[in-house]
Symmetry: C2
Subunit: 307 residues, 2 copies
């Protein structure tokens, strides 16, 4: 009976009742609020109206290429003024995980970009590996390269300098079963404007997992760690919270795992057909409670509500 | 009843009867005849004794980092004098596949090393991509980089210059569903001397597969294509042929698929416990007919046979 009430289009009176039952809105960004560098039309107006009506907004993103401050800048530039403290990205949350959950005593070997390096630095976590790592020597040298004995974790995030040499360094560290193995996220592609895409962090994670014969612990959605960070830092009432996203396998799955309501928007990765297919096959954790064509569709309900 | 007769140690009289029933021996190389750059003790004597007693020997290797000629050189150097025509490696066989099976009309985008490039060139297959491919521009440039419209296949082999840029180029070509996607092999690690290892081609293949949302067609074992190449070029009687290897999931699986007898040697990757576990779980394609601690163990049976 629960299944029958899932995957409803939010419109009209249902939208008004739904928004009245919500205090906290957790937004995925890419495919929800923007695509590449272009805001989804009407999305800035919706988010700002939510805030004006007293609702709290947080941004939960798997993208590890920006610090909280960089995300705050991009949000502001695209029309969503936001404090860094409202942003829970995987660069920031990976650093939190290592410092507060794993309580890492040692260094990180980092496959990742500048933002991840900055967030690790801000959390006081020593790390190495950032930047290019060119080919030197031959196979025997690669198998016996010098290792920093203080490295106790390998972290894999988005890294445009990813290379065979980095893959090999990660393997050499991960052969020690005590070495932690953390991935920021496992998204297979990074969507850009015009339906184009480039390889996502998930490709790099699979390469390292295949070499290491180990699975990484994943910080990003569908893991609930980003949500736990919001709860710990800001508090929220799960019964009055909604997760809004464009991907069933990350955003909607995470919302289901956390026991909060879920809203799929069709401006990004997943389609309504995808959601119905999961409903038919009984994979209900991947079926949103509600859907909209665009988050902008909620604007009328909210502005009428405000009158 | 078949299962009960599998996984027998070859020794004494059984070895003599077995060798008398064999005309053609297919050897995997790494972990069987050598480890890294050191011959397995006694292996050269065994192979040369096999040849002196009139048996034909072929070398079937998933390693794509050597041409047939380079393998012939290494075999000779380690004590196994061999003609290039006796070697069926994935660099050579990938070129054969593209030319004679796929009948490729177009170019290859190659993730691979010099040997693969040479074998493609020798087969008259135009290709690009060999060598380093440094980071230039930003994400938008990567999604819109110029593509050669004549590229009709992506080939992934071992490439020490593997990089995010190469991964991205492969994705851009593979978004065309007509573009072929070939992997030389999917071994996860390349074993070296002293139990050390570096990442194998399988890691690169998994990265590209994850980006492309497609599975590669694999040339190497456990696929039977290397075997088919031996059959086509040299002919053999399957009932008088044995595959000798150190890996259950490649060598032994391929032998089972081809309907020939299989012999596991314990000088490399897989253990007798691994084989027994597959026998207990009923995965009989992964259980060898026979095993030896080392191929050198067959030498007494062969030399006594010769008297």
């Amino acid at each position: 009976m629960m299944a029958a009430s899932k995957c409803c289009r939010l419109s009209g009176e249902l939208s008004r009742r739904f928004l009245a039952s919500v205090d906290t809105v957790l937004f995925d960004c890419d495919g929800v609020l923007w695509r590449g560098d272009e805001a989804v039309p009407g999305a800035p107006e919706l988010v700002n109206a939510l805030k004006r009506s007293g609702k709290r907004v947080f941004y939960l993103t798997n993208n590890s290429t920006k610090t909280r401050a960089m995300y705050s800048d991009k949000l502001g530039r695209l029309g969503f003024p936001a404090e860094p403290g409202e942003v829970f990205g995987t660069a920031y949350c990976t650093a939190l995980y290592l410092r507060d959950t794993a309580r890492l005593q040692g260094k990180v070997y980092l496959i990742g970009g500048g933002a991840l390096s900055q967030e690790l630095g801000a959390a006081g976590i020593p790390h190495l590996g950032h930047g290019p790592d060119g080919v030197t020597g031959g196979m025997k040298d690669w198998a016996t390269l010098p290792r920093d004995p203080e490295v106790k974790a390998v972290v894999v995030g988005f890294d445009e300098h990813f290379s065979y040499m980095k893959l090999n360094r990660a393997l050499q560290y991960l052969q020690d079963p005590e070495c932690l193995f953390i991935a920021t996220n496992t998204d297979t592609r990074l969507p850009l404007e015009g339906g184009r895409a480039i390889p996502g962090t998930g490709c790099l994670v699979r390469a390292v997992e295949t070499a290491a014969h180990r699975k990484a612990q994943v910080i990003g959605k569908p893991s609930k760690f980003l949500y736990d960070c919001v709860v710990n830092e800001c508090g929220l009432d799960p019964s009055r919270t909604v997760m809004v996203g464009d991907r069933l396998d990350t955003d909607i799955q995470m919302g289901s795992t956390c026991g909060i309501r879920t809203l799929l928007t069709l401006t990004g990765f997943s389609s309504l057909e995808d959601a119905k297919a999961h409903q038919d096959s009984g994979s209900l954790d991947l079926v949103p409670d509600f859907y909209v064509d665009s988050v902008a569709d909620l604007l009328p309900a909210l502005t009428e509500n405000a009158h």
